[in-house]
Symmetry: C2
């Protein structure tokens, strides 16, 4: 049947739109025959499993459960979109607190039930924070967990292709690093458009500066735009891209976009952020992005924002002060 691996893959939050699309995507990509769908909400989970059974995929052992022990035990790969969505009347802090708490429990569950998991991909927002919290409580080495951070880069590719009315394939190596959305740091020096350097095009006015500002705004608002157009949150692209990350971790096709990863070096301190990354069978590894002075300054600003969010979660008491992290996870 030509599966990439026989290792068990667990999809957390499988009852939701992103999770159910992940299930179909993973099955269609033939990542592994052994897929377990997990969600605490049983009825919709069963409905998703039924949909997959009715597709009649061949050679697969698809299971579903609301029992976290059954879902996590023996799993080698885990991807989670299982956060809460922002509801009416909820502040940004409410959402941060709620999802950070979910991430803390997810980390503890990983530690308890699948400490040997090979790779974990975290998708629920804000992914850099939920990924960091999950990593801390899981006890995993940082190379074994990454977060979905590619959407700003793929949206930049799409907006540039539309702006120049060319094929997206002619827009190469779009990169945003650091945080997500408004906090992203665009590295235009890395990008070429039909062979021309994007940063040169900005400098020379081939993209007028207001157009460039507007284009970046469209990238930042890419998710909001889908809600406005479609009346529902983006779910197809986050699920597809996060399963592509899992595929790379299984030794499949290289994942060519930035991923969020744990960074702790002489420049960035105890943080999770989008970096220049490689994901392969040995996990996620990063290189520091190389940009011009203003790009690096943008990345510093993005880092400061992420640090602030992290410190909020420390103040909420969901994670301990950094000085105590190594007692929770010896790799951090």
């Amino acid at each position: 049947m030509n599966f990439l691996t026989n290792d068990k893959l667990t999809i957390v939050g499988a009852a939701g739109m992103i999770g159910s699309n992940m299930a179909q995507t993973a099955l269609m990509m033939k990542l592994t025959p052994n897929i377990c769908l997990y969600d605490p909400y049983g009825p919709a989970l069963e409905g998703v499993a039924e949909e997959m059974f009715h597709c009649a995929f061949e050679g697969v052992n698809l299971t579903y459960t609301t029992d976290i022990k059954e879902a996590f035990e023996g799993t080698a790969y885990l991807v989670s979109s299982g956060g809460a969505a922002r509801k009416a009347g909820m502040t940004r802090e409410d959402l941060l607190k709620g999802n950070a708490e979910i991430a803390a429990q997810l980390g503890k569950d990983i530690r308890q039930y699948c400490p040997d998991v090979k790779h974990v991909v975290i998708v629920f927002n804000p992914a850099d924070i939920t990924g960091l919290v999950t990593l801390l409580y899981s006890g995993l080495e940082p190379s074994r967990l990454s977060t979905l951070a590619a959407l700003d880069s793929t949206r930049l590719r799409s907006e540039l292709a539309k702006y120049f009315a060319i094929s997206p394939d002619k827009v190469l190596n779009c990169r945003t690093y650091g945080g997500h959305g408004e906090q992203m740091a665009v590295y235009a020096t890395t990008t070429s458009i039909d062979g021309e350097s994007l940063s040169k095009m900005i400098e020379t006015g081939k993209i007028p500066s207001q157009d460039w500002v507007d284009l970046k705004l469209r990238v930042v608002q890419g998710g909001k735009n889908i809600i406005d157009l479609r009346g529902r949150s983006s779910f197809q692209s986050p699920s597809y891209l996060s399963i592509m990350m899992i595929a790379a971790a299984m030794g499949g096709k290289p994942f060519i976009w930035p991923a969020g990863t744990y960074v702790n070096n002489n420049k960035f301190d105890h943080i999770m952020m989008a970096m220049e990354t490689v994901i392969d069978k040995s996990g996620v590894h990063y290189n520091m992005p190389k940009g011009n002075t203003s790009e690096e300054k943008e990345l510093d600003t993005s880092y400061i924002h992420l640090r602030k969010l992290r410190d909020e979660v420390i103040e909420m008491g969901i994670i301990p002060p950094i000085t105590k992290w190594s007692t929770v996870n010896s790799h951090m």
Copy 2:
């Protein structure tokens, strides 16, 4: 990039849940780089296209339009989920009339803009009727249009696997023919379960007769069950299976399930129904199902039901009496 073909594929109803999943499925399967998404509702259509752009598929020329001429001209393959959903207060007849009228217009549009289309797959309900009406007005040869009819068979496979607690892969060759849901004719003689004949198991009471009745009811209510569990209509399995039909028509992997096809022979008269079919580059071709006496009787009953639906649509004035069909489509 290893696409199956370079021919244009048009997805009609692409703004909806089934249509948007078809788009992702076709792109992931690398059927063709040339995919056009069509829907009369522009904003959601654009939202779906944005999701696909954000997936950053490589080597594809994905377009979207609300202009039917642009969408249909030059297309070689067309799949349509573009019917109306049943709304509160709508009778069965209202739905039939509404979707039959949509099908009539779809057929006329095919005739006007893409009379050379190689294959059309119709998904919207009741597909045997909407497929028949589309075929009539399109002027196409019957081999160039099929309807999605596989879900009853795949649901039967799934329910039998669950009943015997075995892998669905051990349930071979499930077949339902004729109409859909309550009107399906189950051909148990075709099916084997872990090597044993299903019809023998029914005869010998290895499946007690009440269990078999209950199991068939679960198959019939498979779609309703998903609505109950998930709070939304099934969309992943119909889109996946219908794109598999298109793939087979493009010369890809054989489609192993029954499809709805036009039948006009000494037994069944001017009707579209699920048959034993092969879909390949030359289109859809059928063989008469072979079953025991009671199965063939069930199929006759199913045919009579479909004939009644067809005659209702004639009475509604949406299609002419059968005697005049050949003036509308010389192949019928």
